[in-house]
Amino acid sequence: MSLPGTPTTSPTPMDEDTEQAVSVNTEPKRVKVYILENNEWKDTGTGFCIGEVDEGKFAYLVVSDEDSPTETLLKSKLEGNIEYQRQEETLIVWKDLGGKDIALSFEESMGCDTLCEFIVHVQRNIESNISLVTVKSSDNGLGSVHDIITGPVTLPSNDQQQNSQTLLEALKILNENTSFDFLKNETIEFILQSNYIDTLISHFHKAEEEKIPKDLFLLSNIIKTLILYNQRDILESMVEDDRIMGIVGILEYDTEYPTSKANHRKYLGSKGPNFKEVIPLENEDLKIIMKKCFRLQFLKDVVLVRFLDDHNFNLISEIVMDLETCIIDFLQVGTFLDRLIELYDTKTLPESSSEKEKFVQKRKDGIRLLQQCVQMSINLDAVDRSKFYKTLVRKGLFKVLDYAFHMETDSNVRILATDTIITIIEHDILLIHNVQNEDSFKRQHKSGPDDKSSHRKYPQDYSSSTDSKLLLILSTILLSDRSPGLREQVVQALNTLLHPEGCVGNGEGSYDLMGRSNYEAKKTSEDFPSFSYGLNSDSINLNNYHYSSDEMNNLEPESESEFQVMEYFANFYNKIAPILFGPLIKKDITTEMAEIDGQIEKVTKDDLLLIHLVKLVSFVCTEHDRVLSRRFILENGILDSVSKLIGGNHMMQLRLTAVRCIKNLMCLDDKYYHRYMISKNLYAPVFKLFQENIDKNNLANSCIQDFFRIIITECRAYQNDGHNRKEKTNGSYDGNGNDVKTNVNNNRTNFTILNKYLVQTYGDVLRKATDIPFIQDMLETGEENQPDHSSFENSIEGGNDISVNMSTDGFASNHLEDIDIKNVKRLHSEIEHFENDPHYSGDQLAFKKSVDQMNAST
């Protein structure tokens, strides 16, 4: 048994006081003494109670009369197996060995506390068989709650000689002792302070050798019960070097599978503790932590996977996380990372070919190691993660990635490198950039601390910056590497890097994209007429829409990070997008593809790339600043290419992805896109595809039905708005159960114009599908609007009253395919924002000119 004063054993907080208080007697406390007689409590007087110890051997509770202190009202010995009950705050009740029921009612709960402390002390030091329990009425007022404060604890036998009997007994005791915290804590103390687990392990070896299945299963159940104690120190002690094999050995036996046995020891023996060391670790403590961490995970994920409940699972995960935090910390202090990254200095390549091969393998392993460390850091808290990633970047992570992307040819290794990057940028997009800036900032300050402009100038040089390099690397991989897994990962990385919301509010200072779009809308209106429309010329003059540094400085952005984000996206459209979207900029995809190679295989693979690119088009159009992205998309005829993909001889997955891209752009409710797509006849392939699938119950049919449904839903909403204006009624239903806001806004005309155009141009196709109710509606709506606008051309000419929904407030969705539905909803709720914005009139004019130009040139 443990002694008072050892902090781990304190079920009550008063041990230190009792140590002194009880060496002498306790302070007198005022009480009433009651004795039970004939089932009634009889008041025997009021006095002062002390706890008294005679010669360190016998303990008493003594009450002396308050009126005549020499007279003793009560002297009761603490002995035998008396159970003292503390009821509520101020009452101690017990039955002495003579069978007399006694109750002390204290004036104050403090007084009761003092005497309870005394009882605890006596139990621990003199009369170990007495006990103190508390009884409180339960929260609902019915019944009562018992708890043990102190008392004798039955513990399993720790005799070296174990057998089925002792084990069965132990299992019973261990289970029973979980019922009260006190018993549980005492048991935990026993497990930790004794060598009980070792006793079990040594009996396990014996039982296994002598083939005593009963003992083996009992041992397994005992260890599982101990695990259910859910106590960190016990768990950690089980995975120590000299115990782990015994523990997993015992756990190989499972009563659920009585005829079989797992082989955890074999697995651990061959692999577990002998982990690979790419760079030898010097720190022994670190090695111990790593082993512990690995073994706990092994217990959690493999050995105990069917057994753990949520509490156990969470506790082990918590311990693992603590250990991981520790490991990550350790890695950053020594020279470990430096030595690791040194591997990728090209000059250190060995001479002999066998050495070289080994070295190349080592570099591969190094990338695996880094990925594993970064993977491990995912569960850490945000501050620790940032710190670790910054250290990695500072120490030269990019050297490693450069190697992976330029020298390494194994896709699997490249995938791990991309994964590393994704983890870091998904945590904080600006982290890499900021670390790089902080270097340049230091450099600049060294050279000329008074030159304020120097600090700003450096980050402007974006073309050589790390983010830019990263975008370029990723784009190149996407276009050149054929590993489908790597492509998917790269797309994920690009999505993260190009997500405007990831770039704002994450670093220092927040950045309001809406505010910026106003500025740029104005900017664009001035620039637009001077553009040479790039559709027919082979080379696109990037300088035309290049933001010069002077221009940027005039902007006076509110913060440095705001400025960075602007530069960042401008740079993307200047330098990266033309490369990334290259395959869609080329004029005729279908023929080019066919020319590459006659093989179907090749076409299929390129279709897979195009699927990614078309999704990226949807993404940038939806998420990025509208003016910036639209200019790029329209100038490069990207949508023309996308539309062609719908009709071309491509795999259906790509054709439908292209339909969805057109659909997403339509849902943006952007006048320019609407007119562009109408005037360039980009909807034609959609109808061709519809005709192909008109009688089929398949995905293509549903995809296009959805397309039509969006159009008619928007038209109806507009009609209802107009109708409601006349009728002065509120609220309407669009037939799909979606509540349509009764906003009155001309924005809807984008869709009514589109519907009319589609009905006029493709009415014959639509009329074949009138069994679909809303197609009938499309036809009716398209035809009934005739008197207002006699032709599509008219509607374009007369379109100056149409205001444009320029919302750049993109949806924070990582799933491109999600956008369809969400955007339709968005249209209902965000129509009024831009109604009175003065910037748009000029913008519209500019666009009209460019549309004219464009029409003239085609």
Partner: protein
């Protein structure tokens, strides 16, 4: 072309399938699945199966007890992955059967066939353990997006993973969904995969945080409007394997015995014959054996190489 029978044999033995093979399987499956409607037509006789949840060995028992895919037509109501330790093998086996016997097996999407859910409930983790990266998970998720949302047997029995949606109350309306997307957090597509039947008077909030609770009234309306006589769905653990509700207008079928290797429930499949008679087959979890007759204890694979 791939040797499907060989892959099927490997999968049944729980053997590792190369990444490249998985990719091709997934791509070929997409082509097949996109030719099916959101609510795909199925003929009788057919056997309806509920949640599988990565319990490969129980899935094998299911085929064994119900005739096998060579002889019987099947509809699986989704939730092929997560929870159990063999999500990948279970899902790929079903895909292989689909490719091998296209008109003998129909796969419907469950609420676990999504990127978001599989990241949390085990499938993602399983793939990373088995392959060291998440590529195979990505390929499978892409296939999930192509899975049908429901099936209709002889124009008389509507099959779906979760239940009904207040937004779309006819099969024709469901056909207008462009299903190739991650399951949204709300709307008809979400509801079909998430809703539960319950003793409620009208559409009610679901404690799951997605989908709705619907009662007898909604079921009766749906049956009448669509001229069908039964809604067969899965999605909820039933200790007895199946449970009919609302005067037999709806049935829940559960096909993962001893769910999560600890629930102690039995599993069921529902056979519908040409006269639309219902016949339930109950089966229990049995201890799996490998090819040499040794018992297989279900467990996760430990992580791959451990560096540092």
């Amino acid at each position: 072309m791939m040797d499907l029978d060989k892959i099927i044999a490997s999968l049944r033995d729980g053997k590792h399938i190369p990444e490249e093979t998985v990719f091709r399987l997934c791509l070929n499956s997409q082509e097949l699945l996109m030719n099916e409607g959101n609510v795909t037509q199925v003929d009788t006789p057919v056997t309806i199966c509920g949640d599988i949840h990565g319990q490969l060995h129980d899935l094998l028992t299911l085929f064994e007890k119900s005739g096998g895919v060579e002889k019987t037509r099947y509809i699986f109501l989704g939730d092929f992955v997560d929870r159990g330790f063999y999500s990948l093998e279970s899902f790929l086996l079903l895909l292989c059967y689909k490719l091998r016997y296209p008109d003998r097996i129909t796969l419907i999407r469950g609420n676990h066939e999504t990127r978001q859910i599989t990241k949390v409930y085990g499938f993602y983790d399983e793939v990373v353990r088995k392959y060291g990266n998440s590529n195979v998970w990505r390929y499978c998720c892409e296939v999930f997006d192509y899975l049908s949302l429901g099936a209709i047997i002889n124009n008389s029995i509507f099959c779906v993973h979760g239940g009904l949606s207040p937004d779309m109350t006819t099969v024709d309306e469901i056909r207008t969904i462009d299903r190739k997307q991650e399951v949204p957090h709300e709307g008809a597509m979400c509801d079909l995969l998430w809703s539960d039947p319950e003793d409620v008077d009208t559409w009610s909030l679901s404690p799951r945080g997605a989908g709705f609770l619907f009662g007898k009234r909604e079921v009766d309306q749906f049956l009448e409007k669509n001229n069908v006589e039964l809604i067969a769905r899965a999605h909820q653990l039933v200790m007895e394997g199946y449970k009919e509700m609302f005067d037999g207008g709806l049935v829940t079928v559960w096909s993962a015995p001893n769910y999560c290797y600890r629930c102690g429930n039995v599993a069921a499949v529902l056979k519908i014959d040409d006269d639309l008679n219902r016949e339930y087959t109950i089966f229990e979890a049995v201890q799996a054996q490998n090819e040499v007759g040794n018992a297989i204890i279900p467990t996760k694979k430990s992580q791959m190489d451990y560096f540092l």
